[in-house]
């Protein structure tokens, strides 16, 4: 490892372009959201800084059920994606061959946009979807309405399925790369000291891949928690996922409703940020021994 260079001006020059865009679009966007959520919106004649909008938002039933819905859907889908993705990665690492073709195919869902993922889930799991058809074929159900309504349902099962389908390959790919970079040497050493197959998994693979599993988990969770497309296409009318709710509030012709949308956005962002903080807190102790053995 080489020494990091100290330079007074160069790194700032290098960072200038990316930071200008971030500050202009991201930070400004975030800042304006915060201000508007606090009721400061000169454009529509609101000047008074207040927490009222947050209070009202929190008291509204729609928001609360939406928040719970969003949290639940994101958590369940990310946990399932993580379990399947990690299992896949581990199963593949254990094989003698590396199944390149399979790996390439598993990358496909990553380049498929969420919109298409929503469509896929619809064709598979709607009451006239492929699974229902197979159900009829196998004599499990008789007609389309015997099949449970998994799409647009209040449990968000369709949304969960879509996120699982998109998220699993993502987790798989990252964890597989980490597992593969764990040298076979380390495994040899463990086996030589008496470790069996399951020991190697629990004592070597799992702990060494845990930080990246966790960080990927957070990214996926934050993504599904904060994105609009899938709940918009597959979600029920009640409860509505938080991003959808915020957008509806935002497009309300009555502009004085804007602060409500912004307050919802801030709750959305705040929960994600808390997760990142949690991540750093949990894995702070991991920092030092990643430097070397």
């Amino acid at each position: 490892m080489f020494q990091l260079k100290k330079s007074s001006i160069k790194p700032y020059i290098y960072l200038l372009p990316v930071m200008s865009i971030l500050i202009f679009v991201f930070t400004l966007g975030l800042g304006i959201s915060i201000l508007q959520s606090l009721g400061y919106h000169p454009g529509i004649g609101l000047y008074e800084v207040t927490l009222d909008y947050y209070r009202e938002v929190f008291q509204s039933a729609g928001f609360f059920s939406g928040l719970i819905f969003s949290l639940r859907v994101s958590m369940i889908s990310t946990v399932i994606a993580a379990v399947i993705g990690v299992s896949l990665a581990y199963l593949l690492v254990m094989q003698k061959k590396d199944y390149r073709g399979l790996q390439a195919l598993l990358k496909l869902p990553i380049i498929v946009p969420h919109l298409v993922a929503a469509f896929l889930i619809f064709t598979l799991f709607s009451q006239s979807g492929m699974i229902a058809r197979l159900g009829v074929l196998l004599g499990i159900i008789e007609e389309s309405r015997d099949f449970p309504a998994l799409i647009f349902d209040s449990q968000g099962i369709g949304i969960i399925l879509a996120y699982v389908w998109k998220g699993t390959p993502f987790i798989f790919l990252i964890v597989y790369q980490v597992l593969r970079s764990i040298e076979q040497d380390m495994v040899e050493a463990a086996r030589n000291l008496g470790a069996r197959g399951s020991d190697v998994f629990f004592w070597i693979f799992l702990p060494l891949s845990l930080p990246s599993v966790f960080s990927t988990f957070i990214i996926l969770f934050a993504f599904s928690f904060g994105s609009y497309e899938i709940p918009f296409l597959l979600g029920p009318t009640t409860p509505r996922a938080l991003p959808v709710l915020a957008y509806i509030e935002y497009t309300n012709p009555d502009w004085t409703n804007r602060p409500y949308a912004m307050a919802m956005n801030m709750v959305l962002a705040g929960i994600s940020v808390m997760l990142v903080w949690l991540y750093h807190w949990v894995f702070k102790r991991y920092q030092h021994h990643r430097k070397g053995r």
Partner: protein
């Protein structure tokens, strides 16, 4: 025994992720497929033909989409390569803070950012323009570029660059002949990622583009919403094929160029090819 069991499990899990894609393929060439039949009753290319009709909105929007994503890719690479270099090679006051800021768009919902900046974009006349859409698309992909280039600069260091300068190369020459080839694997993976994310973007395009900037995903959504499976599948298929071609194209082009023009890149690839 244990191994063959794990192989079966591996293949079942993988197939259950991959096979659903067949639905797109089938529906895109289906004219009629009533419930509860397992196979289409009538095949046809009507959906795809609608998209590829000369002068169709779909074709126009596809070109718009590609144009926007290409610009987003080039611009994002142009700003994240130096950014990654600064974070990968230098130690400076405020580094921790900047690292958080550049990675934050990964976590903070684009819905929140988009609505926040919307008003400002309106005032600046950036809404309903491709420039505005490009600008807003850049934000969510910055973390990917920064992450990849920070890692790669941490890995390769700048010894090669210094060597180039010692041998008399100017800054520009050094960048073109040394820096660029050594970070080429990063450019390919970051470039592909950025392109795909921008190409898939729906919400931000629709919010900032306001319907005037018609990208491919924007045209696709009504079909998904209305449950027009044939059209939705046709759009999806075209989308995936174009995305794949773009990825292959990016990779082939860059590799070809650099294996011809630089020995260093050649070495890099033989090392990293697996």
């Amino acid at each position: 025994m244990e191994r063959s069991l794990s192989r079966i499990l591996l293949i079942i899990l993988s197939l259950s992720l991959i096979l659903p894609l067949l639905m797109i393929l089938m529906w895109s060439v289906t004219v009629s497929w009533p419930f509860p039949e397992i196979f289409p009753r009538e095949l046809g290319l009507r959906g795809l033909r609608t998209i590829f009709q000369p002068g169709s909105r779909a074709l126009d929007s596809l070109i718009t989409s590609i144009r926007i994503s290409v610009f987003v890719t080039i611009l994002t690479l142009a700003i994240t390569i130096p950014g990654g270099k600064a974070l990968g090679l230098y130690e400076f006051p405020g580094k921790g803070f900047i690292k958080i800021i550049v990675l934050a768009p990964l976590i903070v919902s684009p819905v929140a950012i988009g609505m926040g900046i919307h008003g400002t974009f309106i005032r600046l006349g950036l809404t309903n323009t491709e420039l505005g859409v490009i600008l807003i698309h850049i934000v969510p992909v910055i973390p990917y570029g920064i992450r990849i280039f920070t890692n790669i600069f941490e890995l390769v260091g700048d010894q090669l660059e210094e060597q180039g300068k010692v041998l008399g190369a100017g800054s520009f020459q050094t960048f073109m002949h040394i820096t660029l080839p050594t970070i080429m694997p990063g450019i390919i993976s970051a470039g592909s990622m950025i392109f795909i994310i921008s190409f898939s973007q729906y919400f931000l395009t629709f919010l900032i583009g306001g319907g005037s900037v018609q990208t491919f995903p924007l045209l696709m959504v009504p079909y998904i919403q209305s449950g027009d499976r044939m059209m939705a599948a046709s759009y999806s298929l075209v989308f995936i094929v174009v995305a794949l071609l773009a990825l292959l194209g990016i990779e082939k082009m860059l590799r070809l160029y650099y294996s011809k023009n630089s020995g260093i890149a050649g070495v890099f690839y033989t090392k990293n090819s697996d």
